[in-house]
Each structure stands twice: as C-alpha cells, then as structure tokens.
C-alpha cells in the first residue's frame, strides 16, 4: 500500500518541472541505493559553499552533484568509483573523508600515533610512581600493613 503510493509519487515527481530546489525526491530502484545516496551525499563537499556537504546545501552546483550521484548509483557504480569520478573533476577538496594516501596519511596515522604515545606515557608514569610505593610498603610488617589498610579505609569512608 505504501509502496504503491511511493511509486505513484515517483511518477509524479519524474514528470514534474525542474522546480525542485532544496529537497529533491529521488526514487531509487533498491533501498540500499537510497542508503548509499544518503551516506555519500554527506561525504561529498559542496565545492562552492562555506563548509557544507551536498546533502545540506541548496546551491545549484550541489543540486547538480546530487542529481549526478543519483544517476551514478542507478547505473551501478561503486562508492569508490563515484568518489573518484567527483575527485577527477573537483579535486580532493570535495571529499570529506580524505583518501588514505599522499598528505592524508599523516591525518589518518596521527590519532593512532597519539594513542600509542598516550599509552606509553601512562605506562612510563605508572612505572616511575609505583616503584616507590612498592619500596615503601615492603618495609612494613604484616600486622602494620593490616593496621595501615584499616586506617586507609577509615579515611576513605570519611572523605
């Protein structure tokens, strides 16, 4: 019932004048194409706008690119092929997810390297701090250690 309505609407849309400016009503032959359309239109940058993807922009060029995206998806192009097509004409600028290569290698590696550096910092700091603790408590007898623990727990509860 809903599908029929959608198809009817699609018929109306395709026949309508090209007055659709902002929210176009593209019809897709397969539901996963619509999902890919939504995802890719958020990944492609509008070449003219102040930092908007083509999904959110109502600039003429954004509309053209959305139409092109729809066409390419219906023709069966893969995500990579579509992105390469856009990049060949508008440059790397038009991708919001930088391709892993060239200067963008630094961008993708940076979080990983930072994280590893972070782990290193944690481990090194713990090592230097923990050494003294071990040395300190070893000097206490078992009974003293028990008393110490009880005292510490009391302080914990009171804080």
């Amino acid at each position: 019932m809903t599908l029929l309505r959608l198809l009817l609407l699609a018929g109306l849309v395709l026949g309508a004048a090209r007055a659709l400016a902002l929210i176009e009503t593209y019809e897709f032959s397969k539901p996963e194409l619509e999902a890919r359309y939504q995802q890719l239109s958020e990944e492609l940058r509008c070449p003219k706008c102040q930092n908007q993807n083509i999904a959110d922009s109502n600039a003429p060029i954004a509309q053209d690119l959305r139409k092109l995206l729809h066409q390419q998806l219906e023709q069966g192009a893969s995500d990579e092929e579509i992105l390469d097509y856009m990049v060949a004409r508008y440059g790397e600028f038009v991708r919001y997810r930088p391709r892993f290569g060239g200067s963008a290698v630094a961008l993708w590696l940076a979080p990983v390297l930072l994280f590893i550096a972070g782990i290193a910092v944690v481990l090194l700091t713990l090592r230097s701090r923990a050494k003294t603790t071990a040395a300190g408590t070893a000097a206490l007898s078992a009974e003293e250690q028990a008393r110490l623990r009880a005292l510490l727990e009391k302080v914990e509860r009171d804080s």
């Binding site: 070449p47 003219k48 102040q50 003429p60 060029i61 053209d64 690119l65 092109l68 990049v87 060949a88 004409r89 508008y90 440059g91 600028f93």
Partner: protein, 180 residues
C-alpha cells in the same frame, strides 16, 4: 635534561602552530585550483549556440585560448563582458561555454552586448561544466594549443586579472607553442 626537553615540547608545538596560522592568514581557504590543470580538455559533443553544427573538443585545438563559462542569469558575467570584448578585439581567441542557460536568451544577450566568442558551446544541462569541475559562473580556463588546461580563474576577468595572472601565462604558452 630529557625531562627539561619534555617541558619545552608544548611550547615548540605551539610555535609550529603559530607559524602555520601566520602562513594561513595570507592564504584564501575558498580558493580552489582546478582538478584539471595539466590535463586535456574533457571530450564532449554539444551543439553550437546559434549555429547548426555540433562542437567537440577538437574544435578548440590549434591555438592558445581562453574558455569562458557564462550565462544570462549570471550578474557578474554581464560585468565581465565588455572586457572580454576588448580582449577579443586584441585578437585573443575566446571560446564560450553557455552554461545551463536558455538558447534564445543567450542569443539575445550576444546580439545586444556583442559577441567576443569565436563560438559558443551550448551546455544546457551543464554536463561539460560538470566534467570541467565548474561550480559557478563566471569561470575562465586558459588552454594551450594542444587543448590542455593550464589555468582556471574563478570570477570576473578584468584588466587587473588579465595583466597580473592570465596575460603572462598566455604569452608564455604562445611563445612555447611557436618554438621549434
């Protein structure tokens, strides 16, 4: 000593950042070089405006030329038009792409304001524009004799733009072309 160095690390990183930001102040983030620089003009097959023939990429070969993207709905194109006429009168070859426009309106415009173009490619759907990476009008491409894109200027071409950017490159390509 190593510990001291570690403390200076934030300052060093900040200095690098400050230098980058300083450099950034003289850059224009919205300026976008064409993706087609040093690549041939894409293949196309479109009607000529006001003529009964079909134009292809072969028709622009043979000389260094300007390829100007314009439309009647583009206000800046009207501003740019007189200067293009001047350049055409000086003998600079200019070809036009009438971008996503109406043929009749375009023809009227040229009749009214004069025609600086050797010919006009009627790109009604904007397909050639898409292949070129056009994102608005006016834009002007500089092609060499072999039809390779050498430069793109976004915006109005006026005296200043011609003298400082386009003319030097035009002269260079022309002498290159004629050298053995």
């Amino acid at each position: 000593m190593g510990h001291r160095l570690k403390l200076f690390l934030p300052l060093i990183l900040f200095t690098l950042l400050a230098i980058t930001l300083f450099r950034g102040l003289s850059l224009d983030p919205s300026e976008m070089p064409s993706a087609l620089i040093d690549r041939p003009l894409p293949a196309f097959s479109l009607p000529a405006l006001g003529q009964a023939r079909t134009l292809t990429e072969v028709d622009v070969l043979g000389q260094v030329a300007l390829l100007n993207v314009w439309a009647t709905w583009c206000v800046s194109c009207r501003v740019e038009h007189p200067y293009l006429k001047q350049l055409a009168d000086q003998g600079i070859p200019i070809f036009g792409i009438n971008y996503k426009d109406d043929d009749a309106a375009a023809q009227r415009w040229l009749d009214e304001l004069g025609n600086p173009y050797r010919f006009n490619i009627a790109d009604r759907e904007g397909s050639l524009g898409l292949d070129l990476g056009v994102y608005g009008a006016p834009e002007t491409y500089l092609l060499d004799a072999k039809g390779v894109v050498r430069y793109r200027h976004v915006g109005v071409v006026d005296e200043n733009v011609w003298r400082t950017v386009l003319e030097p490159l035009y002269r260079e390509l022309t002498t290159q072309g004629s050298a053995p």
